[in-house]
């Protein structure tokens, strides 16, 4: 299972990518990761984006790949569900994550 988080928009318009592969995690953390992912319910219909986009709002895309399947969900900072925010924060706290800037 691999999660890719894209954070873009914002005042800079920079596209930042954060990846975390479950295989890179120690056993107990891998289990926690699965729990965080399942709680975030990325397969659910995401909340609709605002009718009027707000300037410099941070935009999110989360892509989850597992056993040949994948799901992609997009959110704005306004619409990001709390459990997705917690998943992002959990990934940000893991030293195994891989960060890059998309150019």
């Amino acid at each position: 299972m691999k999660l890719t988080i894209i954070r873009a928009g914002g005042i800079a318009g920079i596209v930042a990518r954060t990846e975390l592969d479950q295989q890179a995690l120690p056993k107990s953390a891998a289990k926690d990761f699965a729990g965080e992912v399942s709680r975030a319910r990325l397969s659910d219909q995401p909340p609709p984006p605002p009718d009027v986009p707000r300037p410099d709002t941070q935009l999110y895309e989360l892509n989850l790949e597992w056993t040949g399947r994948e799901v992609t969900a997009r959110y704005t900072d306004d619409s990001l569900p709390e459990d997705v925010r917690l998943l992002v924060a959990w990934v940000d706290s893991r030293p195994e994550r891989v960060e890059s800037i998309e150019l």
Binding site: I11, I14, D56
Partner: protein
């Protein structure tokens, strides 16, 4: 307060009914109910409720005839204590005319908002973002390691930065970034430029223009002396020196894709993909940014005296929400002639020619 509103729109009704209408009613009922809720309780305690209601319903509570935000105070700063969106604005840490506090971010947000407020007042006779004295509310320490600062439709919000994109603490340190964000509020209350493709790039460019002017004014720089950089020194050094260069678009940091000429316009779709930036609003703003910097340098002296006057007049009186680059360019030429004269008109026209928007 609220004196210019039609009396029928702010009716008196029980709060529970108003609350239900504000969520479930028709758009007109929602606006009227929100307005009534706003005016029926003390401003200070209502702020968090109104902000959250506005975000939830996707309406601009700040634009409801100043019903929520005209408090008679110029500005105030709150601490989100890293708790995120559900805890906006947070805890009041420095009210208007209160002395500086220990927290540098609070003081920077206070001083930057104040400098922006005074710039608009002294240079253009504008009373705050809405023109009628709206209080400038700022919240610092939003979220955890959050790499952004933004105007949310009713207040300013600053993250601390993660140290991976923005230096920690840097988002409140750049006065041009603060003025950039507050100018999004001015644009919202005036031209209302739609945040997509060319009109969105114009929206971004006006924020960079007045962001840079507030900084130049604070340093008393002439157009020739200015760096024309936006957000200098706030990115981590590995990424680069600044977010954008108005005079040399595309050179500010290692991933800077801004064009400085219409021939290199980046035609991205506005399709909800975060990579496409609402149709390239932070990318193609390089073209009108460079036109402004060239015009300001050609006009000489302090950029806010002539070029800034022209661009302000255009932003607040000449644009429609869907205005494109060429129409904005013609408006600046027109206004240059109206306020100043033929020489200024020629200088502005030449700037737009140099960036390939006009021939």
């Amino acid at each position: 307060m609220g004196a210019t509103r039609k009396p029928t729109r702010c009716s008196i009704a029980p709060p529970d009914l108003l609350g239900r209408l504000a969520v479930e009613g028709t758009p007109e009922q929602r606006e009227a109910a929100t307005c009534a809720l706003a005016t029926s309780a003390a401003m200070r305690s209502q702020r968090a409720v109104m902000g959250q209601l506005g975000r939830r319903l996707n309406i601009r509570t700040g634009s409801l005839a100043g019903a929520t935000l005209e408090t008679g105070e110029r500005l105030s700063v709150y601490d989100n204590q890293t708790q995120g969106r559900q805890f906006l604005p947070g805890v009041l840490v420095r009210g208007w005319e209160a002395p500086a506090v220990v927290d540098t971010s609070v003081n920077q947000a206070y001083d930057g908002s104040n400098a922006t407020y005074e710039f608009y007042r002294d240079q253009f006779g504008r009373s705050s973002l809405d023109g009628v004295g709206m209080e400038l509310v700022s919240t610092v320490h939003y979220g955890v390691g959050f790499d952004n600062a933004f105007w949310d439709g009713s207040q300013m919000v600053y993250g601390d930065g993660s140290g991976r994109i923005f230096k920690i603490g840097a988002l409140t340190s750049a006065i041009d970034v603060i003025a950039h964000e507050l100018t999004h509020g001015v644009t919202e209350f005036t031209a209302g430029l739609v945040y997509s493709k060319q009109s969105g790039a114009l929206n971004e460019s006006f924020s960079d223009v007045f962001g840079s002017l507030v900084k130049q004014h604070s340093l008393n720089q002439t157009a020739a002396e200015a760096s024309w950089l936006i957000g200098e020194g706030i990115l981590v050094p590995e990424l680069g020196a600044a977010l954008r260069s108005m005079i040399h678009p595309g050179t500010a940091y290692s991933g800077d894709r801004q064009p400085g000429n219409m021939a290199e316009y980046v035609n991205l779709p506005d399709n909800n993909d975060p990579r496409n930036d609402n149709g390239g609003v932070h990318i193609n703003s390089g073209i009108p940014n460079r036109a402004f910097a060239l015009a300001a340098i050609a006009l000489g002296g302090h950029a806010w005296e002539k070029a800034g006057r022209i661009w302000y007049e255009v932003l607040t009186t000449r644009l429609r929400p869907t205005t494109q680059f060429d129409a904005a360019a013609h408006a600046t030429i027109d206004v240059a002639g109206m306020i100043f004269g033929e020489a200024e008109q020629v200088a502005v026209h030449n700037a737009w020619k140099e960036v390939g928007v006009l021939s």
